[in-house]
Symmetry: C2
Subunit: 199 residues, 2 copies
């Protein structure tokens, strides 16, 4: 690498970013050096600050640089509705796409005993306690539609039932804008079986 050890080190360090291999890391390093020094320095300083200061909200476990995140701390949010998601990125997706005004609980994972992810790692003791406080009326389970996500959803539904709280799941079906021809068989069968009145 041109005999510049520092450049080689930068390329190597960039590979910690998801989806970045040797070639992209090299392209990023050269571009930063050639055209984006100012923005690169700014990125490095924001990154340091974010990684040092951002922790987790003590109520919903999402990323937050304050002890309680902006959503949990917002008195305008409906505390009777609690939506459970696997990670902060799904929380962000729901916030951006829907008009949901309730609160969240972030598992930071999914049940996966082989990976050492059990109820304790997902903070389910805290969730159980929250459900026991009596404020939550509906638990909206928004785990991912994968095998592990479904298992987690099942577990959460049992938790809700034990606490006498209504549990709901996101609707499955044909995505908007898709063509039936290209929808996978499982989804199509699900959508067909769960057909609704057209009125």
């Amino acid at each position: 690498m041109n005999g510049s050890p520092l450049l080689a080190e930068l390329v190597d360090a960039l590979r910690c970013l998801p989806g970045v291999g040797q070639k992209s890391a090299q392209r990023m390093a050269y571009q930063l050096l050639q055209r984006e020094r100012g923005r690169g320095l700014k990125l490095a300083s924001v990154m340091t600050e974010a990684l040092q200061r951002i922790g987790h909200c003590s109520q919903c476990r999402t990323f937050s640089e304050t002890p309680v995140c902006g959503i949990c701390g917002n008195p305008g949010r409906d505390r009777h509705l609690l939506c459970v998601v696997e990670s902060p990125v799904e929380l962000a997706a729901i916030e951006q796409a829907t008009g949901y005004r309730g609160c969240y609980f972030v598992l930071l994972g999914r049940l996966s005993p082989l990976d050492g992810m059990g109820p304790a790692e997902l903070g389910l003791d805290r969730l159980t306690q929250r459900l026991a406080e009596g404020e939550v009326e509906e638990l909206i389970i928004a785990t991912n539609p994968t095998v592990e996500g479904e298992a987690t959803a099942h577990y959460l539904a049992q938790l809700a039932r034990a606490g006498g709280i209504r549990a709901s799941r996101l609707a499955h079906g044909v995505p908007l804008g898709g063509e039936l021809e290209f929808v996978d068989r499982g989804t199509l069968a699900h959508a067909f079986g769960g057909r609704q009145s057209a009125d």
Copy 2:
């Protein structure tokens, strides 16, 4: 964005990297926070150091944290051969792929009057001076095979001729491992016209 301004700032800052849009930046930020805090902090510190300390070699203009780069400072390199490339990334590609043991000159661009890239911006005064010193015997022109790269190559060949120095170009032709069917017409015509003895 979850009400974390610092996280939003990190996502925004990550977009200065080439090929990184809103979605990838978000994925990178979440991944760093969730799983790679240590490596992320290391990346930020290496990035700061590299962007502050890496400058250009005073002889060949490639990236270097020392006044003279490892290649120019290596007494084992053949100073009679000088290979001209557009950018450090092409220097690295030639170093990795070929057994070339000569020296380099990096233009840091190509002739492009509309973008304000003229002979002065490409350091051609320094190159002319180097050619006049009489050490260089062959100028290997390895600009990219684009319209601007070709124009730059033409200009460089004239410079060499004016200095009474042999100039050579990289060979054009069919890439190894390709199928003739999929080679573009210009390349195929070039390869056909420039056919060589099969002996």
